[in-house]
């Protein structure tokens, strides 16, 4: 069973096709990076897979549950760390985590235990009682990912998790993401090519709403006949090497 399997997944907005007949598979426990220039269709794909918008046609099965006919079940299995930090600003770190845990059905006692676990895993002891809006960008991102993980999702969507962070904060977050590898399935979108290369098991490159290529970073470089992943991305996104 795949974690994600899309079948001709398509999204159209009036005369514009944002995602065109996408067919991709993601294995369980895999970290799959979705790359593409702006407007390539990766955000629309993530939105469809996370049940935020319905596809125009086609379907996707997430752990065998359809995003079209069984979105309620899909929502119980996934969680998302959106591009913006998406935290409740006037709530403390602990309160933010508790909120998400309880919305996903945990009772008060279980939620507290889950929060303690997350604080331990993400080393957030020093900020646990701080209000979210007072945190640095790096800490907010870390909190955002912890909030996405507290519901114990089987599939996690990380949308540009390191956008706008300085080099140190980005590397710290990489460490956090690396620790998750193999435990849950992660779909990562990013504009930082070195991030995708360093973290992913496989990479899918989208352009103009279509999946142009998917493989490991090494194989993509080989396919594009170059030693540089950036060059490989440019060639594939620009020309569509299969």
């Amino acid at each position: 069973m795949y974690a994600i399997k899309t079948t001709n997944l398509t999204k159209k907005y009036k005369d514009k096709t944002a995602v065109n007949s996408l067919n991709l598979t993601v294995n369980k426990g895999e970290l799959y990076a979705l790359l593409g220039v702006n407007g390539a269709g990766k955000s629309t794909t993530i939105k469809m897979l996370s049940c935020l918008i319905p596809p125009t046609s086609g379907d996707a099965l997430l752990l065998d549950n359809s995003i079209v006919s069984d979105s309620a079940k899909v929502k119980q299995l996934i969680n998302v760390s959106p591009q913006e930090t998406a935290v409740a600003e006037k709530l403390s770190v602990r309160e933010n985590l508790e909120l998400v845990a309880r919305i996903y059905g945990a009772d008060r006692k279980t939620a507290k235990s889950k929060v303690d676990d997350m604080i331990e895993k993400f080393d957030m002891h020093e900020i646990v009682n701080s209000r979210a809006k007072t945190l640095s960008g790096g800490w907010q991102r870390r909190l955002s990912i912890a909030m996405a993980l507290i519901s114990e999702p089987e599939i996690l969507f990380l949308d540009e998790p390191t956008l706008g962070l300085d080099v140190l904060a980005r590397r710290e977050l990489w460490t956090v993401i690396e620790k998750l590898k193999g435990k849950i399935t992660i779909i990562l979108t990013t504009h930082y090519l070195e991030e995708a290369e360093a973290l992913s098991d496989r990479i899918g490159i989208m352009a103009k709403g279509e999946l142009k290529a998917e493989n490991t970073a090494e194989n993509l470089k080989r396919l594009a006949d170059t030693d540089s992943f950036e060059e490989a991305f440019i060639r594939i996104a620009g020309e569509g090497v299969k």
């Binding site: 935020l52 918008i53 998302v80 600003e89 006037k90 709530l91 919305i103 059905g105």
Partner: protein, 250 residues
């Protein structure tokens, strides 16, 4: 349970916003103090002719006017959740559209009741007679509170944070002030102005609260029905608009 959890979060967000709380709770009281002071300075003959600013008329009016700031609470909360993408996170959760709206609405109902109660308690110090009618007046204000909450939810669903400040903080408070019989009797202006005032819920809400305080119980329901219909329609519109927004994910 999910609704209660979400409502609890919203309560904390509102109570921790000091500036909004000031405008919601303290500002109407400041107006009452000022107008009561003005009223006490008016010569006796003129004061008897101008009953609008006497505390039994002023307190119900201010209690309704104060509730207009509740729109600002609800609008800012939703709008901010949208702009920070917090709502996007929640859209991928098992929360449903009606749970969102209930979660945003529920904390504001007790706040509205508290605000009205504080207004009447303050009015007692300015000479309002203590009668059981005050308790009924607090209940009678609930429909107009729902109207303001729903207007805020609608504004917050469509507008950004800056725009809701203008729409709910300035335009709506002015509308509810001008067309409500609080500061002047709209029948004195007459014509389209009076018709417009009568077509909106604000004057009817003030009238029903005044009838409660004066003990004219038979006149309450014809006025209050206007407000109740507005509350039901606007809440239905807010739920519909929010559901559509959820589906379009904007």
């Amino acid at each position: 349970m999910r609704t209660i959890v979400f409502a609890s979060r919203n309560t904390k967000e509102i109570l921790r916003d000091v500036i909004t709380l000031f405008f919601g709770l303290v500002f109407p009281l400041v107006i009452m103090v000022l107008l009561s002071a003005i009223n006490s300075s008016i010569p006796k003959e003129a004061a008897e002719a101008t009953t609008l600013f006497q505390i039994q008329n002023l307190a119900p009016g201010i209690s309704v006017f104060g509730l207009s700031f509740i729109s600002l609470f609800s609008a800012q909360l939703i709008s901010k959740d949208r702009t920070t993408s917090f709502v996007l996170r929640l859209f991928t959760s098992p929360l449903k559209a009606f749970e969102f709206i209930l979660g945003y609405t529920l904390p504001l109902v007790p706040m509205s009741i508290a605000q009205t109660a504080i207004c009447y308690i303050a009015a007692i110090f300015f000479g309002l007679e203590v009668t059981p009618n005050i308790l009924l007046a607090i209940v009678v204000n609930i429909p107009i509170a729902l109207v303001f909450i729903a207007l805020g939810l609608l504004a917050g669903t469509f507008l950004n944070e800056k725009a809701v400040g203008g729409i709910c903080g300035a335009l709506l408070t002015n509308l509810s002030a001008w067309f409500s019989n609080i500061w002047f009797d709209t029948s004195l202006v007459g014509g389209w102005f009076e018709s417009l005032a009568n077509a909106m819920p604000f004057a009817h809400a003030v009238n029903s609260a005044r009838y409660v305080i004066s003990g004219e119980y038979g006149k309450i329901m014809p006025e209050l029905m206007w407000v109740i219909v507005y509350a039901v329609v606007l809440l239905a519109l807010a739920i519909t608009a929010f559901t559509m927004k959820m589906k379009r994910n904007k």
